[in-house]
Structure formats: structure tokens, C-alpha cells
Symmetry: C2
Subunit: 410 residues, 2 copies
């Protein structure tokens, strides 16, 4: 773990408002880390509707398997998260560890194990010593309060250098509701979720199927539009809980017009959390927004965007503050998507560096270099073929990334 | 350019035997580099049959476009290669530069421009000053001899730290023939050829269609089975020339049984050159062979192999000498190919670290770590599903890679 906080971190960490219907606490269970919290337990005493999206890895963690099962009930009473051990690729022992974790949490929360949701993040392949939760979960259930969301965000960190917690206030129909979210990264971030965990809680009254439709419809342009290293984790989990404590009529459909503002707020909050994850990418010094326009379709634009965002040569050029648009061309070319070299145009910020398949005659290297020296680097590629467009976010690839990941497990 | 030679370089650079029917020379044209050769010209005075494979980039270089055209004739009289400038994404100027280069080379060689083959490697997006070839090509044509293949290999280097030249002697029917090859890397190496150039010359008498079939059939398990950073260049070119100077009956079909030994030698030579490119990967300190077995098909095994080989987390773990098989699991999972977590087995060298979806109970961390300290690291993954298998080669991802590529253009 790197001790220095990312230069792209927020300047302050304001505490979030309380969300009715949820209380939580954190603890030091000593799963792997010493001297810091590594367990978060959330309790929904009156229950909450719940929706989830998970990694598409063919080798998902035992906790992901567990959540997929629990989600069938659509109802949550407790969430137990640990950092330091992903409980992934742990075979029969991993499954047993989830069963024991859920049984302990359920006993502490006074609910059925199927109403418990689990997430684990950290090293892959080491059996999770779930017996350490014994006692810990009872103390957590006793101590849980409306609590500090920043503390909750801290307890789930692995190589993250700062906690990620965001809030929105919005109306659902005539009811004022709160939506809070926390997330953690920071490596293995790519579409399909990576080692990304995020937990979102609202006091709005929204049914599980409606929540699921909202979440599934929002993840594509938020958490699935970021990449740090193109690697996809075994453990990615986003859970959205609705306690209904704010009152008001329960919304049963994602198409209900009373959800209009909530949808916007949810997209907004998830995008902000997703971008916070990128800004805390391992070793990141630059935040890069890649917008592809003029593609044959949005899906094609997305694939070209990720081909650029995942290119080590593009990412090292950004790290070197080098306006190396030739590598952008390379990444467009290798995407395997429709592209016409002689229609391509490329911008760094407002500086158009290439047009009609060659260097822009008016392009100023000094102006392009000035863009590259900023922390936020917008890159735009226009293919000149159609109306398809997509935006994805990534960070640069630095020596620190190599240092962090070359000496992570030991 | 890095000045230190890769620790994975060969211990010596023996001169290659002459190949009848080709002569060549190198020069300093000052395209980009100072104080080193940057142009290679080969002349086939009596002509040669020729075959080629190229990048699948949608944004190929002007030289690749030119070669694809020339290849329709199947006959070569000259090859002109420059390093320092890729003449890629240079629009109309790029096309004009290839036309001028070919015209100058053709005049010097006394042939038609359509019998000239071109390759350019280096920076993308800068117009190639082809007028600098004027005079240079005439001197080259005058000075060309049966020559030094090591010198030829040096003239085409970009970020390569050592020249790559390999030779085989073999019989075609009753005729003794020689097959020599040179190649260059070193970044942007991935399937579909990357910034890879390779030129192979034999004095065997083999028709262009037969050569093309041989080359296309061999590239998959050799040059297209390597990756350094997953990036694919605009310029990858492999050309195979047959002068026929060794005499003997001209072979018209790749299925001719007299080619049996030649086929093996060609595969062998191309594999050795491909591995030399990986061993000179930018910043590489480890050479990694990834073998995937038990997949549903060879193609599926190949995709899983590349998912592992291109994973920054796997590659940084190798750099850190960390037997982090959890990241191998992650890379298998993200490949999107059929895989069953609970049948997966993983080896580093002979050390089985995981079996049946969990850590091998008998696995010795010390033994696995000893494997990781070697320069050559064989990784094997068995999926337990079918008979599909594939082997790919890559290198580690080091801080030096970031340093080299973060400050390449400037």
C-alpha cells in the first residue's frame, strides 16, 4: 500500500447526512491490516429493498456467489464487508466462509442468513478466516449508529489512498429523500467492475425490481465506463439499498415519473464515485476523460474509447505529459472497430492536433503540451463516420503503479 | 532509447551465412537518429518471389498500404527500410513519401517502383522526409554486398537494445538452402504484429503463392503469439523473400512434400525471432511463457493466454518476483471464455500452486518464489474442460517500461 494520498484526491472530506433506516459501525478484525478498520457492518432494522450488479468474471468470488443468491429475495437486513481478503478462488473453504459469515451476521442482526449481503476485497486465493467475525459482528450490531459515512468508506479501503463518500438530496414525488454512496478501488478497475465495491443507500421507498432496473440502467455510463488497468476483478459488487424511511408512496416501477429526479441524482452520484475511483487509481497523477464521437454506434465508440483508455502506450505518454497523438491513432486502429484513418480528428483539451488523417497544420505543440501538464486531461477523438459517441475515464500509468503492484502481496 | 542492453539478450551475435541472390547495405540518412545507421536497402538483382503479412490495424501506415499493393505482383527487386519515422497517419504526404521513396529506390535498383517494398518504423504522425533518400539509395545500391546481417538488423532498430538475426540451413528436396531472418521490436508488440518488422530471405526456389501460404500458416504460432503491452502498431510487416539462387526445381505449392523440412525451419526461425523480440521488450527483465491447456478450443486457450499475458497486474507481479496466482485467476476470469473456477489448476514452473479451484494444499511458497526469481518463467493454466491448448510469450511490466514510454517522443 502506498502511504501518500493521491494528488487527485478531494481537498476535504465533508461528513454525509444521515439516511433513515440504516445504522452501521466499523471494527478492526485484523483480517490482514493492523492498526486500521477492516470490517463494516450495515443494519437495516426494518429491512430494505435491494438491487445489485456484479463482476462478469468467470471466476467470481464466494461473496459474489452469495450475494447473487441473496438477491433473489430482494430484501436486505444486513451488509457485512471486509477488506484485506477477497475470499476469491478459495473453493469449498470460501463457500464455507461465506456461510459462516452470513450465519454470524444474521444472528447478530436477528434475521435470516438469506437477508445478509457480503462483500470481501483484498488478496485472492487466501482462505478468509471468517471465525474472526465471531464476537466482532455482535459488538458491531450493538454499536451501530446513523454513523459516519466517511468512516464506513475508510473501513472498506485496500490500496485506496482516500475514502470515497458522496451524497445527494432529491425529491421522489413530494418526498425529500437522501441518497448516500461509498466506494473503493483502486486496481483491477475495468468494465465489469474490477475490485470495485460500492454501497448506495437511500431512504426512499422503492421496490427491489424498480431499484434493479435503475441500477442496471445506470451502471453502464458510470462504474462500467472507467478503467485503470483493464483488469477485471473477481469481486466487483455494487449494491443499492432503499429503506423507505423517508415515507411517501412506495414506487414499484423504474418508469414511474416520480423517479425522474432520483434517476438523475443516482447517475450523478454513481458517476462521481466512479471518477473518484479513477482519481485514486494506483499511482495515478492524471485524470483522463476520453470522448469518442462520430463512431458508427455508441457501442463502437465505447470499444474505441476503452482501446485508448487501456493502452499502456497512451497511458505512459500521459504520465510523461507527452501530447503523443500517434499513440491515440494506434489505439483507434487496434480496436477492431470501423474507422477511416483519413477522417480521424484528435483533440487534447481544445487543441486539435490531428485532422483528416494527418497532423493539424495549425497545431501548436506548446499549446498541446500545456494541456498535458494539467491534472485533468480531456481527449476527444472524432471518427467522422456516424453519430455514435461514448465517454470513458481513466488515469495515467506511472512507475508508482508498477511499484505498488510489484510488491502488493508480500 | 534505453542505452542498457536487455539482460535477456543473447550472449553473442554470431554473423549469419550469406544468402545467394540478395545483397544489401546500410546508411545513416539522419531521419531521426544521429550517429547510427537508419536505412537498410536490400537488392534482389535477379528478382525474388515474395510474400507478406501485415498489421490488422484499421489505421495502417503508408508503407503497409504500399507493400500490400506491391505484393499483388509477387515479385521483389528491392526492399527499403528506415527507422526513426513510421510514416504513419501522415495522410496525403505519407502516400507521396512512399511514392517518392519507391521511385528513388527503383531508379537505383534499375527496376519498376512496383517491385520495391517499403517499411518504416518509429514515430507516428510526422511526415517522412523521403527526399533524404535521394543520393543515399544510389550509394547503397553501389555499396551493397552479400553483407553483414547483424549490421542489417542494427539499422532497423528503434527502442530495441540489441539486433535480432537468426539463420537456418535446411534441404528443400535435394537442394541445400539457407534461410536468414532479421527482426525488430520492441514496444507496441501484440498479435496483429505491433511495431514489429521482420525480413526473411532464403535462396530456395519457391513461388510467391507457396511462400504466402507458408508465411500465413506460420505467423499464428510465432509472431502473432507474442505480446509486450497489448498495443498493436500501424506498421507491422513481415516479408519473406525467395531468390532461388540455391538452384533446384522451383516449388509451386506449400503442400509440396519437399518443403517439409523448410516448413519446420521457418517455424523455428520465426519463433526464435519472435521470442527475441519479447526478450527485448521495453524494460523487460523476465521472459514469460504462458501455456493454457484443457480449454474448450485452441482459440479459446489463445484468448485466455493473451488475457493473462496482457494483464498489467500479472506482469507487475512477475516484475516483483511475486508468485501471485490470484492474478492469474483474475485474468482467466476476465477473458470471457468458458472456464470453471472449481476445475482450474495453475503452475509456476513445475510448482502447482492451485488445483480444483483453490490453493494447492501441498504448495510451497518458497518453491514458487524460486521459480519467480529466474529469468525464464513458465506459467501453465489447465482449465479442465477440453483439449484446447495454446502457448504465448510475454515479458514483465517494469518501471523502466514506464520510463521508456513516458519520455519517448521528446
Amino acid at each position: 500500500m502506498s502511504s501518500a494520498v493521491s494528488p487527485l484526491a478531494p481537498k476535504s472530506y465533508p461528513e454525509l447526512p444521515e439516511v433513515g433506516g440504516v445504522r452501521f459501525a466499523t471494527a478492526q478484525a485484523g483480517i490482514k491490516y493492523a492498526g486500521r478498520t477492516d470490517v463494516l457492518m450495515m443494519l437495516f432494522d426494518a429491512g430494505a429493498d435491494v438491487a445489485g450488479v456484479f463482476t462478469r468474471s468467470r471466476c467470481p468470488s464466494a461473496a459474489v456467489d452469495w450475494c447473487r443468491d441473496s438477491l433473489k429475495g430482494g430484501r436486505a437486513r444486513a451488509l457485512l464487508v471486509n477488506s484485506g481478503n477477497a475470499n476469491a478462488f478459495t473453493g469449498r473453504k470460501g463457500k464455507e466462509a461465506t456461510e459462516l459469515s452470513a450465519r454470524l451476521a444474521a444472528a447478530a442482526a436477528g434475521c435470516a442468513p438469506g437477508e445478509v449481503f457480503l462483500a470481501s476485497t483484498g488478496v485472492i486465493g487466501e482462505p478468509l478466516p471468517a471465525e474472526r467475525f465471531s464476537g466482532v459482528v455482535d459488538r458491531l450490531a450493538g454499536a451501530a449508529t446513523a454513523g459516519s459515512w466517511q468512516e464506513a468508506a475508510r473501513a472498506i479501503m485496500t490500496t485506496d489512498t482516500y475514502p470515497k463518500a458522496v451524497s445527494r438530496r432529491v425529491k421522489v414525488g413530494d418526498t425529500d429523500v437522501v441518497l448516500n454512496g461509498i466506494a473503493k478501488g483502486a486496481g483491477m478497475i475495468a468494465p465489469d467492475m474490477a475490485t470495485m465495491l460500492s454501497f448506495l443507500v437511500t431512504d426512499a421507498a422503492i421496490s427491489a425490481p424498480a431499484l434493479q432496473a435503475l441500477l442496471s440502467g445506470t451502471v453502464g455510463d458510470t462504474f462500467n465506463a472507467i478503467t485503470i488497468d483493464g483488469d477485471t476483478s473477481t469481486s466487483d459488487t455494487v449494491l443499492l439499498f432503499a429503506t423507505g424511511a423517508a415515507g411517501g408512496a412506495r414506487i414499484e416501477s423504474a418508469d414511474d415519473p416520480r423517479l425522474a429526479d432520483f434517476k438523475v441524482a443516482l447517475g450523478d452520484l454513481m458517476r462521481e464515485l466512479a471518477q473518484m475511483i479513477v482519481k485514486d487509481g494506483e499511482g495515478a497523477r492524471k485524470f483522463v476523460e476520453i470522448t469518442v464521437t462520430g463512431a458508427e454506434s455508441d457501442a463502437s465508440a465505447r470499444r474505441i474509447g476503452f482501446s485508448i483508455a487501456n493502452s499502456p502506450l497512451v497511458k505512459t505518454a500521459v504520465a510523461g505529459e507527452d501530447a503523443n497523438w500517434g499513440r491515440i491513432v494506434m489505439a483507434v486502429g487496434k480496436a477492431g472497430e470501423p474507422a477511416d484513418r483519413d477522417r480521424l480528428a484528435i483533440w487534447f483539451g481544445d487543441v486539435r492536433v490531428a485532422v483528416d488523417g494527418e497532423r493539424d497544420a495549425d497545431y501548436s505543440e506548446a499549446a498541446a503540451s500545456a494541456v498535458m501538464r494539467e491534472e485533468f486531461i480531456p481527449v476527444r477523438v472524432d471518427l467522422g463516420l456516424g453519430e455514435g459517441r461514448s465517454t470513458v475515464w481513466t488515469c495515467d500509468l506511472t512507475k508508482e503503479y508498477v511499484a505498488i503492484n510489484g510488491d502488493y502481496r508480500s
